[in-house]
């Protein structure tokens, strides 16, 4: 390599560039200074220090960067800081909710909770078998109703749909995502009353209510996923003399199966926590009912809500159960999600 020292000349492409340590130093300084300032004012608080400190840091960083690196770089830094803080900001409620649920839900996260119903139990003890069973039934049936309809409708939109009908479906699917959940519940309840007489609250009615909420989500996500499948693959299949329906079933669906599963899981997660429609349509019971077409069935969200709303004398026991129910619900969704991811990665297109 060059042995003679080149005459010192500034590289044309070196913009003013802040060394990496500047950022953490400015951040720490901003936080400490703000903290001290608040302390001096006698109004120290972690929350306000972090918030004001972050603002001070942002302004300082942008100013420093603007001076050293120029306006464009400063803007870039501002964007980076904003994007990153958006992320941290979003983590706060998440962490808070999860922490809350864990810390309040763990005390009753015991064997009894998963082996007992609330039948004939007052005060402490008891469990949520009846509600877990009910949630699995209602969500399960809703999934069985919504997924085929939703995916087939998405197939229609992507593969067949042209003109008015397709546009109408796309539009009204969007509208359907806005049906308030309680209206879905009222609807399902009214529907079943017509056929099965007054007072019929059953898991299947709850499932119908959930389906009304679930179908549009399945359609939307499935549609997105199917559209991602390259047309080249479809053409490849057609050119082999494969009929359209087989192309869809054997090429398009397998190629997008990962995305489809993820979409279905999102939809399940969206409805599994619904309270209002189940309260109206699936009813309330303290006992285990494993018959989805006869008699009211408890579900976890209803269990959580009613445990909270109808606390008895021993209020803590009811609250504990409510939180454990919430924790269980989140865990169920997590397990479903993980399973879905496993299945999805198993089927995902190989290579690339």
């Amino acid at each position: 390599m060059a042995t003679i020292a080149a005459p010192a000349r500034r590289n044309l492409y070196t913009a003013g560039k802040l060394p990496v340590w500047v950022l953490p130093v400015v951040l720490a300084t901003a936080l400490v200074l703000t903290g001290l300032l608040f302390a001096a004012l006698g109004a120290f608080g972690i929350g306000r220090t972090v918030v004001i400190g972050a603002i001070v840091f942002t302004i300082a960083m942008v100013l420093i960067s603007g001076a050293v690196e120029g306006a464009r770089k400063a803007k870039d830094r501002l964007a980076t800081i904003l994007v990153t803080s958006a992320f941290c900001l979003a983590l706060l409620p998440l962490v808070s909710v999860v922490f809350e649920t864990l810390s309040k839900g763990l005390p009753r996260f015991d064997i009894e909770f998963f082996t007992y119903s609330m039948r004939s139990i007052v005060g402490a003890g008891g469990g949520a078998v009846h509600a877990i069973t009910g949630t699995l039934w209602t969500t399960g049936i809703a999934t069985v109703i919504s997924v085929p309809i939703g995916i087939m409708a998405a197939i229609y939109l992507v593969e067949y749909g042209r003109g008015r009908l397709a546009r109408a479906i796309t539009f009204f699917v969007d509208v359907m995502t806005g049906i308030p959940s309680i209206v879905a519940g009222l609807f399902a309840y009214a529907l079943f009353v017509i056929f099965f007489g007054p007072g019929t609250k059953t898991a299947i009615a709850g499932a119908v209510a959930l389906s009304v909420l679930m179908i549009p989500i399945v359609v939307r996500s499935a549609e997105e996923m199917l559209r991602l499948v390259a047309n080249e693959l479809r053409e490849a299949a057609y050119a082999l003399g494969v009929p359209k329906w087989r192309t869809v079933v054997k090429v398009v669906l397998p190629t997008s199966v990962g995305g489809l599963i993820t979409g279905v899981m999102l939809a399940v997660a969206r409805v599994i926590g619904e309270t209002a429609p189940l309260l109206v349509a699936a009813g309330f019971t303290q006992s285990l009912n494993s018959n989805p077409v006869n008699g009211p069935m408890m579900t976890l969200p209803v269990f959580v809500f009613r445990s909270y709303a109808d606390q008895g004398q021993d209020a803590q026991a009811y609250l504990d159960r409510a939180w454990t129910g919430a924790l269980t619900l989140i865990l169920i969704v997590m397990v479903l999600n993980l399973t879905a991811r496993l299945i999805a990665s198993r089927f995902a297109p190989k290579g690339r």
Partner: protein
């Protein structure tokens, strides 16, 4: 296994837009015909009408007749799916099915149609098709690995193997080499030379040298102006088109003195 194609006065439309106008030509069995012409002149559009692949595009339709050994592809009651099984197609960008292994890709045409093959029959078919596409030696040890793991040129040959596995009579290729490097291109050109012993081959290419190298017959397409339909200007033996075309436009195009 190879058929004559006769096209009579074919117009192709995309909705209201007439993309190709009044094409009549004949392709003899066991020959290679090259379509050349500037971009947008309707080569792709036209070649797709030879196996009704244009119907995949909403709004596209044809007027006129395409005869395959005398059978009109556009006759009433003709099933496009069956047409496509007789007339195979290979595309510009290699498009193996990403969810399938090499072997499954080759068998796709057969399997997707619900036919059951015995293990030996399918192993046989795989080998035969891959050999036919000059790919056997390169992939014989990894038939079960995903097809998308191959290099571009290999993927394109895999697609050819997939196309010949259903034993078509005609093979259409729309710029099969334009995404490939010269080595792979040469491999494919060699392959085309072999394919014509069994199949009727039609190929669209931008590469004049390629057309000259591989084809027996060359058709030159052009369009009068932007927005006007493309037309077949001249068709003839490759030798004649490249040495002594009838039309001035053809000569201009081939010598690069276009416009």
């Amino acid at each position: 296994m190879s058929k004559r194609i006769e096209v009579h006065d074919l117009n192709v439309y995309y909705g209201k837009f007439k993309a190709v106008e009044g094409v009549s030509l004949t392709v003899e069995p066991r020959t290679v015909t090259a379509f050349i012409g500037p971009s947008g002149c309707g080569k792709s559009t036209f070649i797709r009408t030879l196996n009704r692949m244009h119907e995949v595009i909403p709004g596209a339709y044809v007027e006129g007749r395409v005869l395959l050994d005398g059978d009109n592809l556009y006759g009433p009651g003709v099933d496009p799916v069956r047409v496509r099984r007789t007339v195979g197609m290979v595309f510009q960008r290699p498009n193996p099915f990403p969810t399938m292994s090499i072997k499954e890709n080759v068998l796709a045409g057969v399997r997707l149609n619900g036919q059951r093959l015995s293990a030996t029959a399918s192993a046989d078919l795989v080998e035969r098709s891959l050999r036919g596409a000059n790919l056997w030696n390169e992939v014989k040890d990894r038939l079960n690995s995903p097809g998308s793991g191959l290099s571009g040129g290999q993927q394109q040959r895999l697609c050819i193997a997939r196309a010949i596995a259903v034993q078509p009579e005609v093979i259409l290729m729309d710029e099969p080499c334009s995404a490939l490097d010269p080595i792979s291109t040469i491999a494919i050109e060699d392959l085309i030379g072999e394919l014509k012993e069994q199949y009727t081959v039609v190929i669209v290419t931008h590469n004049m040298q390629q057309a000259a190298r591989v084809s027996d017959q060359t058709a030159f397409f052009n369009l009068a102006a932007q927005g006007k339909p493309g037309r077949l200007i001249e068709i003839g033996s490759t030798e004649k088109i490249f040495s002594n075309p009838d039309e001035k436009a053809t000569e201009d195009y081939i010598t690069g003195r276009f416009g």
